[in-house]
């Protein structure tokens, strides 16, 4: 008897393999040439464009859209990659609704921004499909830089350094590169193994060696790296996850990050087990990604329980709407109290005088699976680096408190924890490393 949505417990195959494959198709299907031309025609080519200001990597958006409109998508892609070498992934995963597209003046005009994200994907897909690599390396400098972490910030940093003529070695603790692009973000945002394809394409610049299975504190030390390299960049992300402080025990309690990672690495989504009644604790992107994917796998009920109100939720309105459109229920003002055989008990909360209080009311939800998505923490940062607010303290150019060591991405202070922000930080650190290695300030 095969499983279905009502099968109790945590099991795989709640939906047919076809249905699951369909559910995990592209969230935003790519634009074809005609659609891209129509979408590009809507751009006003604003002066000092607000979208460009809103982009953490400052892509010249009006220019690349005009290049699409005039039939030169590859030139458009070059404009994008000049600023953001992971422009392909960012086109898929950026919360554009809170970045470039939120700033688009078309919102004022007709409440509908130019589809910047999808246009960016059209341009980058076009160039990447051509094969080869669009950038060439400058003459070799003989300088060697170590980059720790093959996530967005590390890759952006390594690429920029390689382009400047430096030799780069990337170290990553896992067996695959890409960082959260590979292990973290929702599968339907980058289907088709895009993270690996992009990684291979990026490395096409040359001059970058990737050494997998090497982790700081586990066969790798900052001291050694500093000795063997002219500079070190740390893009180690947030490897730790917060624990859930609740009473009781529940067999189905797991970290959402780990569950998503396993899902991303599964060869067939139909093999991924999911609960009948799933409760996700948290209010950020990880909570949304876990909840939506649980639903797409066929969970009968999926509830996100968030302890604060809707306005306080870190996940954007767009993401909240996406979740509810897929059948996820979002329960605001519900804080976890205890877990047990009956499921999970949540305390109703309210915000009074700026403080979150429990109202005394509780509710209990049935739950076969409880995924905690209540934040990640810095883990495994080398000693000796100044830490600020739980992150490696860096200045505007990514310099840490230790000379010769830069950091960027989620592990470092500054900016939101987004792929695009990590790319900007990695890129800018590379520029500063280059200046520093070539006799500048």
């Amino acid at each position: 008897m095969p499983n279905d949505q009502s099968t109790p417990g945590i099991v795989a195959g709640r939906l047919s393999a076809d249905q699951i494959a369909q559910n995990f198709g592209d969230l935003h299907p790519p634009l074809d040439a005609h659609e891209a031309r129509v979408a590009a025609d809507r751009c006003y080519f604003c002066h000092d464009a607000p979208c460009m200001t809103a982009c953490p990597t400052s892509i010249d958006i009006p220019l690349f859209i005009r290049q699409i409109a005039t039939g030169t998508a590859e030139a458009a892609a070059k404009t994008i990659f000049n600023q953001n070498i992971l422009g392909g992934m960012c086109a898929r995963v950026c919360p554009t609704e809170t970045l470039c597209e939120e700033a688009c003046v078309r919102n004022e005009a007709e409440c509908e921004p130019v589809q910047i994200g999808r246009l960016q994907r059209y341009a980058t897909d076009t160039l990447m499909a051509r094969g080869g690599h669009p950038f060439t390396r400058a003459a070799a400098t003989g300088k060697r830089v170590a980059v720790v972490g093959a996530g967005p910030s590390g890759l952006a940093c390594a690429h920029r350094l390689a382009m400047k003529g430096h030799d780069v070695t990337i170290f990553d603790g896992r067996k695959k590169g890409g960082g959260l692009n590979e292990f973290g973000i929702a599968a339907y945002k980058a289907p088709g193994n895009f993270a690996q394809a992009e990684l291979a394409w990026l490395l096409g610049i040359g001059g970058i060696t990737v050494d997998y299975g090497k982790r700081l504190g586990d066969g790798l030390s900052l001291d050694d790296l500093q000795k063997s390299h002219d500079a070190v960049f740390l893009g180690i992300g947030l490897a730790g996850v917060n624990a859930l402080a609740v009473s009781g025990n529940h067999d189905g309690l797991a970290s959402a990050v780990d569950w998503i990672s396993a899902l991303r690495q599964s060869n067939d989504k139909a093999d991924v087990a999911v609960g009948r009644d799933v409760v996700v604790i948290g209010g950020g992107m990880t909570a949304i990604d876990a909840a939506v994917q649980a639903k797409l796998l066929g969970a009968e009920t999926v509830t996100i329980a968030y302890r604060r109100d809707k306005a306080a939720m870190a996940a954007s309105e767009f993401e909240q709407d996406l979740a509810t459109s897929k059948g996820v229920r979002i329960l605001y003002n519900a804080a976890p109290k205890s877990v047990g055989k009956e499921g999970i008990t949540l305390a109703r909360t309210a915000t009074k005088g700026g403080k979150l209080i429990e109202t005394g009311e509780t509710l209990t939800l049935p739950a076969d699976q409880i995924l905690r998505a209540i934040g990640q923490t810095l883990d495994g940062a080398p000693g000796g680096l100044a830490i600020e607010g739980g992150k490696i303290a860096v200045d505007a150019t990514g310099r840490t408190s230790v000379a010769g060591v830069w950091a960027g991405g989620d592990c470092a202070t500054g900016g939101e924890d987004l792929t695009v922000t990590a790319v900007a930080e990695g890129r800018d650190a590379a520029e500063d490393i280059h200046t520093s290695l070539t006799g500048g300030a």
Partner: protein, 432 residues
């Protein structure tokens, strides 16, 4: 619903919207569909002499340019006059006119510049009981190489001569269709008038190459690797046509000569503009070729609503209303001062006005920290470029400074009307 009935040089039609002589009016089937769709009249596609019909290319006949979202803005064609036998056309014309007696049916003609061929074809057309003839002195491609079409329209003496033959050899009303491929539209219009034309129609198409294929380096449309210039029409040519119509309507030598307005008319508004500048009716082609015959329904309802809103009871009340306002530059009031005003509530903060003014004009718009845009009255020369580039209608408007108010740019008070003819800087005017 306003009364749209039109009487153009004695030719009556239920509305002033005619289809121009062109591919849409080449045969009975199309013309019947046009009448059924509501077109007031049709100018049948140009007939040539009896005998072997002309031959068209069998590659592309049209080229186009497009605006955003591939909206067709300009169309170019290298099609010749009708390539169907004369007798077939004549038979169809007679039958259609009989079946649609209330609609206008004018026949376009083009035969060599000799009196006998004109006599022959006029006699044949008269037998169809069509309402009139239009002399095609306009087509700029193909036929012009054979001494017809615009080759005639570019020589006023020929226009006058042929028009006179037509009037002498026919009782039918005669419309002379003019080519815009000349330096001054008044010369051919005056010649038509001298020849006895009942009206002129304009504009015919403009010599053009729409684009160049950058893979093959051939002009478009391309016929087997080669291209030839065609005739350009559609919305893009409307401003050129409006000016030519207005020139004829306001010139002392041609004033009062009835005009059938042609050139990029796509909506009721375009039609009303042509009529306001002196056109007694209008002819449409590209709009029908782009959207089908149904577009006339919008033209009818739109013109009707416009007339009702303005208390107009006859289309003739629109005709020529704007002509007295068309003047030479020297007649314009040099003391008139306006300033651009940006409505911050409507502004979407795109900054196009700023870029246009700062880069290409008078640095008269300032951009605030929060992307608020404000006009600097002491720099604004009222050029209107900001209005033209603003994507939001009525967001930027031009405000008139009243008499006596000081223009912050010049420091001078606004004075009453005075034009170039009396301006102190006009050395020519002050020489005497």
């Amino acid at each position: 619903m306003a009364d749209l009935r039109s009487n153009f040089i004695g030719i009556k039609s239920p509305n002033p919207f005619w289809l121009a002589s062109a591919p849409p009016t080449d045969k009975e089937y199309n013309v019947r569909r046009a009448y059924e769709a509501g077109w007031g009249g049709v100018v049948w596609k140009t007939l040539g002499e009896a005998g072997p019909p002309v031959v068209n290319v069998s590659g592309p006949r049209y080229g186009a340019i497009w605006g955003a979202d591939r909206r067709l803005l300009g169309l170019n064609n290298i099609e010749l006059i009708t390539d169907r036998p004369l007798e077939v056309n004549l038979r169809e014309i007679k039958q259609v006119k009989r079946d649609y007696p209330d609609r206008a049916l004018v026949v376009s003609l083009m035969v060599p510049c000799e009196e006998e061929p004109w006599k022959r074809i006029l006699k044949a057309v008269e037998e169809t009981e069509a309402d009139g003839v239009e002399l095609n002195f306009g087509c700029p491609h193909g036929m012009a190489e054979r001494g017809m079409g615009s080759a005639v329209g570019q020589v006023p003496e020929y226009i006058e001569m042929v028009t006179r033959w037509v009037k002498q050899n026919s009782r039918m009303p005669c419309i002379v269709k003019l080519t815009p491929n000349i330096t001054n539209i008044l010369y051919p219009a005056e010649a038509a008038k001298r020849g006895g034309a009942d009206a002129v129609s304009l504009i015919n198409t403009i010599n053009s190459i729409t684009s160049v294929n950058l893979d093959t380096f051939t002009p478009e449309p391309t016929i087997d690797g080669l291209g030839a210039h065609g005739g350009y029409c559609g919305p893009a040519v409307k401003p050129i046509a409006l000016n030519m119509v207005a020139e004829i309507a306001r010139s002392a030598t041609t004033a009062g000569l009835p005009i059938s307005g042609i050139g990029g008319i796509t909506t009721w508004r375009d039609a009303a503009e042509f009529m306001a500048l002196g056109a007694g009716n209008v002819q449409v082609c590209t709009a029908a070729m782009t959207y089908g015959f149904k577009v006339v329904q919008e033209m009818i309802s739109g013109l009707s609503e416009f007339m009702d809103n303005h208390g107009l009871t006859s289309v003739d009340e629109i005709v020529g209303r704007a002509v007295p306002k068309v003047k030479d530059w020297k007649d314009l009031n040099l003391n008139f001062v306006t300033k651009a005003v940006i409505d911050e509530d409507l502004c979407i903060k795109c900054g196009r006005c700023y870029a246009a003014c700062e880069d290409t004009s008078h640095q008269a718009i300032e951009m605030g920290e929060d992307r608020t845009f404000r006009v600097k009255d002491d720099e604004c020369v009222a050029c209107n470029l900001c209005v033209n580039v603003c994507p939001i209608e009525n967001c930027i408007t031009m405000k008139e400074l009243p008499l006596g108010e000081v223009d912050p740019r010049t420091g001078r008070k606004v004075e009453p009307y005075a034009n170039w003819t009396t301006h102190p800087n006009n050395t020519a005017a002050n020489a005497g």
